[in-house]
Amino acid sequence: MTAPLVIFFVLAAVAVFGAISLIVQKHPIHSALSLILVMVALAGLYLLMGAEFVAAVQIIVYGGAIMVLFIFVIMLLNAGEEERTNFSKLAMYAGVPLAVAMTGLIAAAIVGSNAAMPARAPETLTSTRQLSTLLFQEFVYPFELTSFLILVAILGAIVLAQREN
């Protein structure tokens, strides 16, 4: 096994462990911490693919800003441990077969694909300069539309907060 492959499997194992832990943990803070672990492991995977900028942004935005907000809210509300309810019938009869089918589908797609996956992103995308040129020239309309969407969401949050007073 080559070194990148070893690192890939370690990071993938960490990500999967974090994701399972996120669901299994009873305390919201522990779940949030597991989610941070997943984010950091994903950033490591991006780094392995040569997408340094995406990796850094992944940690800054998801690992930093968004998850800090999660933790902050959980701490502020002082949420306690959740209680386990009975295993739902729907989850038993519909959920488990669906999960198995989904896993099989993904596995089949991976096994069926003959073309070797490119290990690195194309060189043109790794440079930050090229990324920004792409973002602000070719995809400028979707980009501006997204920021407009976020602005609407912020305004909505302010309106909802103001209604209480």
């Binding site: 942004v57 930093g64 800090v68 933790i71 902050f72 701490m75």
Partner: protein, 402 residues
């Protein structure tokens, strides 16, 4: 053996460099506490540490021994995982952030492996630094939450709110520098400040004075230092997020705080004050003797102070220390090769220590912010000013292009 070294140089050399850097940083951290206590003591017309060793110079050692041997009680019904994880996360991230800082200009080849005076040369090193800063909120927030104490919880909440608010201003304030340099690499940012070769005048501080002021204020808030040390305001919160921590776990928070002070000082030096570049124009060749000119008189003064020190131990140790300093100063004049090699590191460290002194000076001078003042200052003043700086810088750059 040699073959083995050549083959695994990419692995061994970084590990050796990490060990050296961690050793140096932890020592500097320890002596930073000594400098801080001394400087604040003299600001307040006191003596400061004076008992352990001459001029209290062995005080950090005594503190270290005390931290290791103190009892480490576990408070009742804490969240064990988070309680133990928090100091480790804080210290680990603080030390990791130093990995991308380039300390000097040289590149050298060891066992066929080319390396510089830094642990990792990443071409997005500034972004990596911000990513690590973004994660460092968790240490403080978790420590506050896991301790199961209302003072700690309030400290942790305050700190996460403060760090999230000032992180925006911190990131936006360096965009001006990025626009000028056109690159995320800290090494490139420094090299570009030296292209014109007229020393001090070509540093980023002159076009980016607004950016620097915003950066420095936000950086102090990010490192939780006075006047922004609300997470550990002792008059309101006992000791804030680390109230329930004792012994080595408390020491880890302490070391992390001083390490992030060093990182921020390094970053301010690199982004705005030309990193390892000399403040004098390249034509002033005689300024390269400045390290010797400073070291020799200081060494002689330490000898002079040592021979009339109040106790025998000091009379024995201080003259030797002074003699070593003076000898190093003379050695630099005798061996110009060594003198040339240390120029970059000398200027870098001189600037970093100036910033660290400013940090301590502020702690001795300024009162703490009130919490609402802190928030309105961050959101209503610092953030708009740093955004205005970005717009202004972009307009000037566009103007120059056309």
């Amino acid at each position: 053996m040699n073959e083995f070294l050549t083959h695994y140089a990419f692995l061994i050399i970084p590990i050796v460099k990490i060990a050296i850097l961690v050793f140096i940083v932890l020592t500097v951290d320890a002596y930073l506490t000594w400098i801080e206590r001394k400087v604040i003591a003299h600001i307040q017309a006191r003596w400061g540490p004076h008992r352990v060793g001459p001029h209290g110079l062995l005080q950090p050692l005594a503190d270290g021994v005390k931290f290791i041997f103190k009892e480490d009680p576990l408070p009742a019904s804490v969240d064990k995982v988070a309680y133990f994880l928090a100091p480790f996360i804080t210290l680990m991230l603080a030390l990791t952030s130093l990995a991308v800082i380039p300390f000097g200009p040289q590149h050298f080849t060891v066992f066929g492996y080319e390396t510089g005076i830094s642990i990792a040369e990443v071409n997005i090193s500034l972004l990596v630094l911000f990513a690590i800063t973004a994660l460092s909120v968790y240490g403080v927030a978790l420590a506050g939450w896991a301790s199961n104490s209302k003072y700690s919880l309030l400290g942790g909440l305050r700190s996460s709110a403060q760090m999230v608010s000032y992180e925006l201003a911190l990131t936006l304030s360096v965009v001006g520098v990025l626009l000028i340099a056109g690159d995320f690499s800290l090494r490139t940012i420094v090299v570009q400040q030296g292209v014109k070769g007229n020393g001090l005048l070509s540093w980023n501080i002159f076009p980016q004075i607004i950016g620097f002021i915003c950066f420095f204020i936000a950086a102090i808030a990010e490192t939780n230092r006075v006047p922004f040390d609300l997470p550990e305001a002792e008059s309101e919160l006992v000791a804030g997020f680390h109230t329930e921590y004792a012994s080595m776990k408390f020491a880890m928070f302490f070391i992390a705080e001083y390490t992030s002070m060093i990182t921020v000082s390094c970053l301010a030096t690199i982004l705005f004050f030309g990193g390892w570049l000399s403040p004098f124009p390249a034509s002033w060749a005689f300024t390269q003797y400045l390290p010797s000119v400073l070291l020799i008189p200081f060494g002689l003064w330490v000898i002079f102070d040592g021979i009339r020190y109040e106790n025998l131990f000091g009379r024995m140790v201080l003259p030797v220390v002074g003699a070593v300093m003076a000898a190093i100063g003379f050695g630099l004049i005798v061996f110009p090769v060594v003198n040339d090699a240390i120029q970059g590191i000398f200027w870098f460290l001189a600037k970093v220590f100036t910033f660290l002194f400013v940090y301590i000076w502020m702690r001795g001078t300024l009162p703490r912010f009130r919490y609402d003042q802190l928030m309105s200052f961050g959101w209503k003043f610092l953030l708009p000013v740093s955004i205005a700086n970005v717009v202004l810088t972009s307009v000037v750059i566009l103007w120059r292009m056309h």
